[in-house]
Symmetry: C2
Subunit: 360 residues, 2 copies
């Protein structure tokens, strides 16, 4: 029996009870509101967790990269969305070969990208699904809502593509922005109506972001959501009001390696363990010490975490192991090869982060 | 023949001419000043580059983690410094087994850590070298200079340890801080004299940081340096005044994946490709576009780079590939599986980042 404290550090720990509750809660929410749930696997990057999501009723999975799609084939997913405007001959060839195995849908925001996908699909004798990405205000990818119908129509005309609908990502809207949420709902339902009037009835309107997760059913027209972070949650999700602190399933176990000066300690995790992501609201610190939330994890070098103990609830000794809940779990997972799943402090499962560092 | 533009993206590119010049320049500097050069491999994390450093006369190599030490055995290094206060039974066992293969020296700042290393070395019948880490002002790891002699003496008394000297890291001192550099020199030479008077003549006084690299010979007493970043350099090294922009060997090739709105473009690299490290001086932006330095890489999501083109020297088209010099190359390399070495735009060598993500 391996207990948490027996693990070498740094180690990424996931509390299985919390993770299972997180997975179930979102599955229940989606079912209650008749929303197709298509979890974004960029957070966990693991086949095992993708399989758990599918077993709980997910209609498919989402990935950001072609290489992530290749990994997630291992889940035996039947409907895989590449929520990214894939460009480039090599990637398009790889996508098309995946489309011979499972249903692949790609989110695009240009006719240029769609034409290349169409040509490659035609050459390979396969079909690709397409969602048109619409910019609802984040100013990242996506066409303006007013331009969506024209792009959808042009894509419908291309061979070997199945236009399936639209997708958007409201990453700029906070959970409490009532006006922006109302405006988003008006934009999306207006867009749906315009498409229907134009004879372009979307099968899928895919939306949602972690902060807005629980309000997805209020966005008129949305029938699919793609949350990612909910599986583990993190301090950003807490700050966004989309989960409570006790819903954070992931933490990093680190060792106190230096107490050379009073009032501070150094732990064996820095920016190569936690990433340098700050809290998305701009708050201070790099994570929350579970053993002493008053300790201030204020600075990192690559392999050193600097913890100020001035307001810590307790003291720490050399060699002691402590757990830190990270700001942004998605980038943390991407730095770790393995995840240690624990229940009641005992390691029950260890899984690989198969899509770690899959960039292309 | 594969040219840069043929590579899929994101891809980490290293200009071999620049890298070779960087390696040679520091080897020459160390030789000119009779400094032992012990490059820190945390920047490149690659066996091939470690071998190149040894071939150019490096006296040994440095690593931060036990797992990095295991990887760097592949270079056939004869003298390996683990510049980190290694704690924990599992890691100590692994270090001791490495010490049966090559000479291993560990930097410690506590008698507690040294005692554990001593016991494990004695049990295994091997010897471990020890450097005592001294804090010269960064307030990270290290004992106060006044406490160094006592710790050195106590370590000398422990079985199976060879006390070899002291080490420090002046990461808080900038290249232009003349007063701090003078004070550092006084601290180090005073410490050396005190040790010698106490009958503790250090074989090694290991110092240096990238910003202070070229001033290492001015720190009285220092006879070894451990630079890491110099192999590739980055915008931080430029900002520190320790290299010129044309000495930056590493860049990330990315593809323009969205030009949906005028005045901006999105490239296919974000925080999982570049890390979120800001310029250490606190400057804006996440990297410098080689094709248009006026373009402003101002924001990242995990897989999206946001580039503002308002002041760009040229426009860009969908599918075009551009190169971006990163802020902090050490954390970027750790996110990439392969490095593409190019000369005159042609890929000449591809090497693996074997120690990528080696955290324990």
């Amino acid at each position: 029996m391996t207990r948490i404290q027996d693990l070498d550090t740094p180690a990424l720990i996931v509390d299985l009870d919390i993770m299972e509750r997180n997975l179930q809660r979102v599955a229940d929410y989606a079912a209650a509101h008749s929303l197709r749930l298509r979890p974004h696997t960029k957070t966990h990057k693991s086949i095992l967790i993708g399989r758990k999501q599918l077993a709980l009723g997910a209609a498919g999975l989402t990935v950001a990269k072609t290489s992530e799609a290749e990994v997630m084939l291992g889940t035996e997913v039947r409907d895989l969305l590449v929520a990214y405007p894939v460009l480039g001959a090599a990637k398009v060839r790889r996508l098309v070969s995946l489309a011979g195995i499972t249903r692949i849908t790609v989110a695009v925001d240009s006719l240029f990208a769609a034409e290349h996908l169409s040509q490659a699909a035609e050459a390979a004798g396969v079909r690709l699904g397409i969602l048109v990405e619409v910019d609802v205000g984040l100013a990242r990818v996506g066409v303006a809502p007013a331009d969506a119908a024209e792009l959808c129509r042009n894509i419908q005309a291309l061979p070997n593509l199945d236009w399936r609908g639209i997708t958007f990502y409201p990453g700029h809207i906070k959970n409490q922005d009532e006006e922006k949420i109302s405006a988003l709902s008006a934009t999306v339902s207006g867009l749906r109506d315009a498409l229907v009037r134009a004879g372009l009835t979307p099968e899928i309107i895919s939306g949602g972001s972690t902060p807005l997760l629980w309000r997805s059913h209020e966005i008129q027209g949305v029938n699919e959501i793609r949350p990612g972070t909910y599986v583990y949650n993190d301090l950003n999700t807490v700050a966004a009001g989309a989960c409570a602190l006790e819903d954070c399933a992931a933490s990093v176990l680190v060792t106190v390696v230096s107490t050379a000066a009073p009032g501070r300690m150094i732990v064996d995790g820095g920016s190569k363990t936690f990433s340098s992501d700050k809290l998305s609201g701009g708050g201070p610190g790099h994570g929350r010490l579970m053993e002493a939330p008053g300790a201030y994890f204020h600075k990192m070098n690559e392999e050193h975490g600097f913890v100020d103990l001035a307001n810590a609830e307790r003291s720490f000794t050399l060699g002691e192991k402590v757990r830190i809940i990270p700001n942004h779990v998605c980038v943390v997972v991407n730095l770790h090869e393995y995840v240690y799943g624990v229940r009641n402090g005992v390691v029950e499962e260890v899984w690989n982060v198969e899509a770690r560092g899959k960039l292309q």
